[in-house]
């Protein structure tokens, strides 16, 4: 064993680790700037968030090191048990959990709060990778699809029941994993269409939309099918489903929680009062806009620092680099994330073991969904959903979770040559 461990160092993907360190450093400096407090100017002042984040970062590094020195097969073995524990906890929290900030999703053990939903995505990724890599060759496809879907959807539903819609949305990351592993492209396309249809139903006139949809269905029937009765019923069923969605959207929308409704209205810019429900987003946009091309300079930002932007160290952390480093800095961060994610896909593709590949795709997709939703909401392209920006948002648990997620993959990757096809 000791042989193998000493051997993995040249196989570790130092490029990914380099980008990771870059992002971590940018994140830490950003937190320092975002909550910069003239009475506590030291960046290692542990009473301040930047000091605390330093502690999370260092402990995160220790965690990463421990993962790298552990046995790669360990993670595959523990996949199912971990998945099982998390699902169990998701259910149990319904009965013995504590209410914190409106969500019924926390276990309290003394001073420490544990939110199974946050760990869920990691467990699903492991469990799904394990299941798909084991079962693929053997049993029939239908069963695999159903089980895989259930493995994602069941915890998702449980999380929604805990009022953690934001977390549930991140679970949609797995659609990319499933697609890569053979899920029909129509479902991916259908997913995007569904989102588009929701938005159109909320923004547009439903009657006009229905007529357009019916016209499209007719065209599809006339051009793309053999105009058989079977085709007609197929097209008709899809049209019917669409119409149900169009008319059902409003019903569903009206039955959302008030704050969720507001967030969607803000996103769609419907009846928004910029000093009330639209305040957060509006202030974030003002702050980002004020950065201009080159920004105001490090520590020179005003909007985020002076609390105009809410949650400016966590969900809205992206505002600070936009303000201080301008378009150049903000685009650099976006590109850095893109490079990281593409690199992870590249790494995933070079795996010999399906488990490693599927897990790697999961990591890339999870990062993507977090970056896309977080940056998207900062830029007003997404409704406000409280999820962290990987490695940059303040917070120990999210920093640990993302580090854990990524370094397990890097550990698997370092081991890739040990596995026979």
């Amino acid at each position: 064993m000791s042989d193998r461990r000493s051997n993995i160092i040249p196989h570790i993907d130092w490029f990914t680790i380099g980008i990771y360190l870059c992002i971590v450093l940018i994140g830490w400096l950003n937190i320092y700037s975002a909550v910069y407090n003239t009475t506590h100017p030291g960046i290692f002042d542990f009473s301040q968030r930047y000091g605390k984040q330093f502690v999370w970062i260092i402990t995160g590094f220790i965690l990463a090191f421990l993962i790298m020195v552990s046995d790669a097969s360990f993670f595959s073995v523990f996949s199912y048990p971990l998945y099982g524990i998390i699902v169990f906890m998701d259910i149990a929290v319904r009965f013995i959990g504590k209410d914190i900030a409106g969500s019924h999703s926390w276990f309290k053990i003394g001073q420490i709060g544990i939110q199974p939903a946050e760990l869920g995505i990691f467990a699903i990724n492991l469990g799904l990778a394990k299941y798909l890599s084991n079962e693929k060759k053997a049993s029939d496809e239908k069963k695999i699809r159903l089980v895989a879907a259930a493995m994602v959807l069941m915890p998702m539903l449980l999380v929604i029941l805990q009022n953690e819609t934001g977390v549930a949305i991140t679970y949609t990351a797995f659609i990319f994993v499933l697609y890569r592993e053979g899920l029909s492209g129509n479902i991916l396309l259908g997913g995007f269409m569904l989102i588009a249809l929701f938005i159109l139903a909320l923004v547009g006139n439903k009657v006009v939309l229905s007529i357009v949809l019916a016209g499209l269905a007719l065209l599809a029937f006339l051009i793309f099918t053999r105009r058989k009765l079977k085709d007609l019923s197929k097209v008709g069923a899809i049209l019917g489903l669409c119409l149900v969605i169009v008319f059902g959207t409003n019903y569903a929308f009206n039955h959302l929680e008030p704050h969720q409704k507001k967030r969607i209205q803000v996103f769609l810019q419907q009846n928004v009062n910029n000093s009330k429900e639209g305040y957060n987003l509006h202030q974030a946009e003002i702050a980002i806009g004020s950065g201009s091309v080159f920004g105001k300079g490090y520590l020179q930002g005003t909007q985020a620092k002076l609390n105009y932007v809410p949650a400016h160290a966590t969900d809205f952390i992206f505002v600070t680099p936009c303000e201080e480093w301008g378009f150049v800095g903000a685009a650099f961060i976006v590109i850095l994330y893109f490079i990281l994610i593409i690199r992870l896909i590249f790494l995933a593709e070079r795996q010999r073991s399906p488990f490693s590949r599927i897990y790697g795709y999961g990591v890339a997709s999870i990062f993507f969904i977090h970056v896309a939703v977080n940056v998207g909401m900062n830029l007003g392209l997404m409704p406000v959903i409280g999820i962290p920006l990987p490695f940059i948002s303040y917070g120990g648990s999210s920093f640990w979770a993302f580090t854990l997620l990524m370094f397990i993959f890097l550990r698997l990757d370092a081991d890739r040559l040990q596995i026979l096809r």
Binding site: I286, Q303, L306, F327, F338, P354
Partner: protein
């Protein structure tokens, strides 16, 4: 399966790439293209806090402080930050009632929203503020800002100094130098030298956080501008003389103007009734201003010295004498006989006494109406001119050169031009060609349509004293130790030869020595003067006197008008002589006269007249016709 779906990495990567590009485009739009967001940011974070400069001080000619500044405190409130506190003690500390408190908060909220600081209470005195300040920390949401208010240590010359008040909205809209709440000079020197006195406001850029809490300077004040204190002015007033003049004018309505003929500098300019300028300052101003404004009998806010118009009466004879000589129809030997009145056809103008035959010098000394009616007729019937109109216009040009009938170019606001009739006026009134010298004979003795202000009278005395020239009367000597405008150092000549002035000065000297104002003679000073008693159809006559001293190279020229004072010699002449004595000798030896003048009360006649049932209102021309017809022209 790996190989089966291997191509899908491109689709997944493509989706990620599209998202990445979408974000960068969105960032580019928000940060580079959309300008509105940038403006919004600076609007809400930065506040430009005005630093008010203190206004310039005003000193008298000897460096005595007339106007200075004193701190006053505005209490500001940000309603959203106000927390529960003891309103009773708060109101007690500030000396306001609970109703004031509630309405103050309401007003602030409406005016400037609950999230911004607005003025809650203005101009709190340093005494009240001192005790309030100690407790300020207990009253969340309240802050203070220092403003300055004017203070007048010598309590003199309210009309000259003027006062300041808040600018109105129209001016704020017109002039970018002013913002609502700023102060501006409203009258007097404060108004005419506003741009010098106000200084330059400074701007401090402060940053405020989302809770509207001040978090400090922007970039350590790199972009701030410092306020520049207004320029200090030195005025031409001799504060001691001014103070003495005001003392003499107690209980009298009228004015004193004293000018240094060698420079045109105004030494004193008293308009009575006056008020303590400190009344028009700070929190007491509104109350006092209303009180002064409502006094319709004495009209204390009215600057009589520059704005009140009186018939010059016999003081005008000096000008007639000069014009007559210059026109060649009069010389020192010209003699006329006075039978006690001037008769010409149906017209007759009375005289005080039958002076008998007399020459120019004596005629001035005794102020003989008959003599000057004859002089006036000879000017009007001058063979030089083909018509009365032509002669009149020539006469009028001479009078105008003395500054009568034209607005004085003085550095104080709202000086009036007085009244000097034109040919057009008489043509319209009497009909073209239907008037001649005898028709307008009242002008001979300074009555009729003539009207002069005390300032013009003093300038007239100064011209005679200088033997034919004057400097524009002005009130400011230097601005921040730089001398004022060049125009005040330019000699203005009247078109009358200097030689002709001597006989007039001799006559005026006799006026004081053994003429109409003999009682006002000053031992040791050769004073030249001329009395005037201006007709007032509604009651007692106005008492006038012009004088200069010494006779040669005079150092002071004075005009005094005492409304309803009666004879010129009765009040105006003694007061003028006291002013001259005070200025030249610094001490008053004629204690008896001084006492009489200080105790005198003529303002009562004004009140009596105003309270008496209103007579039919005459206009100037009607009054003239009426008096002439009644043969009641009475003058010294």
């Amino acid at each position: 399966m790996n190989s089966l779906f291997g191509d899908r990495k491109y689709i997944i990567g493509g989706i990620f790439l599209i998202a990445c590009i979408a974000f960068i485009i969105r960032l580019f739009y928000m940060q580079v293209i959309d300008e509105t967001l940038k403006l919004d940011a600076s609007n809400e974070t930065f506040r430009h806090v005005t630093q008010y400069p203190p206004r310039g001080c005003i000193y008298d000619r000897k460096g005595r402080l007339l106007v200075t500044n004193e701190a006053a405190y505005d209490i500001l409130v940000t309603p959203s930050l106000v927390k529960d506190f003891d309103t009773n003690s708060f109101c007690n500390d500030l000396g306001i009632t609970k109703t004031d408190f509630i309405s103050g908060i309401k007003k602030a909220t409406i005016q400037n929203t609950a999230y911004h600081a607005s003025v809650f209470l203005k101009k709190v005195t340093p005494e009240i503020y001192a005790s309030f300040q100690e407790k300020l920390f207990k009253y969340h949401g309240f802050t203070s800002q220092v403003r300055t208010v004017r203070r007048y240590p010598m309590k003199v010359a309210p009309h000259i100094l003027g006062y300041i008040g808040e600018v109105n909205k129209e001016l704020c809209a017109r002039n970018p130098n002013y913002k609502e709440g700023d102060y501006i000079g409203i009258s007097g020197i404060e108004e005419s030298y506003e741009s010098e006195l106000r200084g330059t406001k400074g701007i401090k850029i402060m940053m405020f956080d989302a809770m509207n809490k001040e978090v400090g300077d922007y970039k350590n004040g790199k972009f701030d501008t410092l306020p520049v204190t207004g320029a200090n002015l030195t005025c031409t007033i001799d504060a001691e003389l001014q103070e003495y003049g005001e003392k003499l004018m107690q209980n009298k309505a009228g004015s004193i103007v004293a000018i240094d003929p060698e420079t045109g500098e105004i030494l004193a300019l008293v308009s009575s009734p006056f008020y303590d300028p400190n009344m028009m300052v700070g929190s007491v101003r509104a109350k006092n201003y209303g009180k002064l404004l409502r006094d319709s009998i004495n009209v204390p806010l009215f600057n009589r010295a520059l704005m009140a118009m009186y018939p010059p009466g016999s003081t005008f004879k000096t000008i007639e004498a000069l014009i007559g000589q210059q026109e060649g129809v009069l010389n020192e030997n010209t003699a006329y006989s006075c039978p006690g009145a001037f008769h010409l056809g149906k017209i007759s103008v009375g005289c005080d006494a039958a002076h008998g035959s007399l020459q120019l010098e004596k005629a001035i000394a005794l102020s003989c109406n008959t003599y000057f009616c004859n002089v006036f007729m000879s000017i009007m019937n001058n063979k030089k001119y083909s018509s009365t109109e032509e002669a009149f216009n020539s006469w009028r040009r001479y009078v105008t050169s003395f500054g009568i009938g034209i607005r004085p170019d003085i550095d104080l606001p709202s000086a009036l031009r007085g009244s000097l009739p034109t040919q057009k006026y008489y043509d319209k009134y009497h009909g073209k060609g239907h008037w001649k010298g005898s028709t307008i004979i009242s002008l001979a003795i300074g009555q009729g349509e003539l009207g002069v202000t005390p300032l013009q009278l003093a300038n007239q005395a100064s011209i005679i004293g200088n033997r034919g020239y004057y400097f524009l009367p002005h009130i400011i000597r230097s601005i921040a130790d730089r001398p004022t405008m060049k125009k005040y150092a330019t000699k203005h000549f009247v078109p009358i030869d200097a030689q002709f002035f001597n006989i007039v000065a001799d006559g005026m000297c006799d006026v004081v020595n053994d003429g109409t104002a003999a009682a006002s003679k000053i031992p040791g000073i050769v004073m030249c003067g001329k009395t005037g008693t201006a007709q007032n159809p509604n009651g007692r006559n106005n008492s006038l006197f012009i004088a200069f001293a010494p006779k040669d190279h005079p150092r002071i020229a004075v005009s005094v008008v005492i409304e309803r004072g009666g004879w010129g010699a009765e009040w105006a002449a003694p007061i003028a002589s006291l002013m001259i004595e005070k200025y030249l000798n610094d001490t008053i030896k004629r204690v008896e006269i001084e006492k009489k003048m200080l105790e005198g009360n003529t303002i009562q006649y004004l009140a009596e007249e105003k309270n008496a049932p209103k007579k039919k209102k005459h206009n100037a021309a009607e009054a003239k016709v009426a008096t002439i017809k009644k043969h009641k022209h009475k003058d010294e």
